[in-house]
C-alpha cells in the first residue's frame, strides 16, 4: 500500500512525513512517499496534501506542477482514494479563498475561506496554539479522539463550509473555528495532526486504516 504526501514546496513537509512514516510503520500501513510527480499521486492508495503559508502562494505552487492537480482529481474524485488535507491543504478543498486576493480552490467541499474574526477583538491573530476540539460528527478517522482533546492550530483564515454535514469538528476562538471537514473519501484538518501529539498521531493512524 502506498501513501503519497504531495510535495509542492509548501512549508514544512518533514514533520508530516515523519509522523505518517511512524504511524505507517506502527500499523503496518505500507510505504510513505513524498513526491510532486503526478504519476505517484495517481498510483497512490492514499493521498496527503500538507500546506503552510498563504493560500494564493500554495495554490500557485500546486498549479505550477504540470499535471499535479489533474492527478489529484483523478485519484480523489475519479478513483475515490482517501484524501487528507492539512492546514492550507485542507483550505484548498474550498471553492474560493479570500486571503490576499480571491483565489479558487478545488471546490471539493463547498464553502469559502475567510479571515478569522473573533468576537473578542483582544484575541490575537494568528490563532496559534493548543485548542480543544468539539466533535460534531463521528467519523472513522476520529475514532478514539474525544471532544475536549487538544490539537495544535496555527492559522489566520478558516474554511466556512456551506453544508453543515461537512463539518466534523470545531473549536472556539471568540466564535466557532472550523477544525475538521469531510465528505465521502475526503477529510481535512485545520490543525496540524503531525504536531498534535497523541490525538494527532491517532488520527493519522486511523486515516491509514480508513476504507471509505
Amino acid at each position: 500500500m502506498l501513501t503519497t504526501i504531495v510535495d509542492y514546496e509548501s512549508g514544512n513537509l518533514h514533520s508530516a512525513q515523519k509522523a505518517f512514516e511512524r504511524m505507517a510503520a506502527e500499523t503496518g500501513a505500507g510505504e510513505v512517499l513524498v513526491s510532486a510527480r503526478p504519476e505517484d499521486v495517481v498510483r497512490a492508495d492514499r493521498i496527503v496534501l500538507p500546506g503552510d503559508g498563504a493560500f494564493p502562494a500554495c495554490a500557485r505552487a500546486l498549479r505550477a506542477q504540470s499535471g499535479l492537480f489533474e492527478a489529484l482529481e483523478e485519484a480523489v474524485i475519479g478513483k475515490g482514494r482517501p484524501f487528507f488535507g492539512i492546514c492550507v491543504g485542507m483550505q484548498m478543498l474550498a471553492d474560493l479563498s479570500h486571503e490576499y486576493a480571491p483565489t479558487p480552490g478545488f471546490g471539493w467541499i463547498g464553502g469559502e475561506v475567510d479571515k478569522i474574526a473573533p468576537s473578542d477583538t483582544s484575541l490575537k491573530i494568528p490563532h496559534m496554539g493548543w485548542n480543544d476540539l468539539v466533535i460534531d460528527r463521528p467519523h472513522p478517522v476520529l475514532s478514539g479522539v474525544q471532544t475536549g482533546e487538544h490539537a495544535y492550530f496555527v492559522h489566520s483564515y478558516q474554511l466556512h463550509v456551506r453544508e453543515q454535514s461537512h463539518l466534523l469538528a470545531h473549536c472556539d476562538y471568540g466564535g466557532r473555528i472550523t477544525a475538521i471537514v469531510g465528505r465521502e473519501n475526503i477529510i481535512g484538518t485545520q490543525f496540524h495532526p503531525e504536531k498534535s501529539q497523541r490525538a494527532g498521531l491517532r488520527m493519522i493512524a486511523n486515516f491509514l486504516a480508513w476504507a471509505p
Partner: protein, 253 residues
Amino acid sequence: MLKTRIIPCLDVAEGRVVKGVNFVDLVDAGDPVESARAYDAAGADELCFLDIMATAENRSTMFDLATRTAEQCFMPLTIGGGVRSHEDVRDLLLAGADKVSFNSAAVADPNVVAEAADRFGSQCIVVAIDAKTVAPGKWEIFTHGGRRATGIDAVEFARTVVAKGAGEILLTSMDRDGTKRGFNLPLTRAIADAVDVPVIASGGVGTLDHLVEGVTEGHASAVLAASIFHFGTFTIGEAKEHMAKAGIPMRLT
C-alpha cells in the same frame, strides 16, 4: 478555548545543551534530542532551541538536531540563533523546524522578515526581541547578547516587524534574564498590547507565580523559561497546574 503555552527553551552549542537538563531519568542530560523527548513526554506545549554559537559549523549541527527532534517529537519546534536570511529559514524548515526566529538580522534590516514571511507565511516567522529598560516606560533593543545598544525603541520595533509579517514575538527582557526576579511586566504588557500577534514572555522566571504574572499582568500568550525546568526546580506539570489554579486556561495532560 485557546490555551496559554509553556515553552521550555534549550540553549545549544556544538550540538549540546548548555548547562544541561537536570531530569532524574535522563541518560544524557546534554543531548538536546533526549531533552526534547523528555519535555514532549512532560506535556510541554512547544519547544525552542536556541543556537547560541551561531557559527557556520554549528549551523549544520542545528539542522541535524531539527531533523532528529522532528522524527521523535510530534510537537511544535522553534529554532533561533544566527538566522540571517530567508534561505536560512528555508533550510531550517526543511530540516524539521516549524517556526524560525530572527533576532539581530531583523534589527539590521526588518525587510528580512518580510521576505521570509512572504515566502513561507507569517505563521512560521518569529522575531526575537531583546530589550532593556533605558528610562521608566522606555525600552530599547539590544543585540549581541545584550551588550550592544541600538537606539531603537522596542515597542516601535515590535510594531515594525509585525507589519513586515512576523507571526509571533519572542520578547526577552535583558535586565531580568537570569535574575529569577520575574518577567519585566511593564515591557511585556507594552509590547503585547501594541501588536495583534502572540507575544511569548521570556527572561527572569524564578517562581511559578512569575509565569502567572506574565499572562495576567504582562498579557503574554505564552511563557518561556529555561533554568526552572532544566534544573528540575519545577516540572512542566506543576507549572501548568499552578497556572490553571490561577484561572489561566491551560492544556493539562
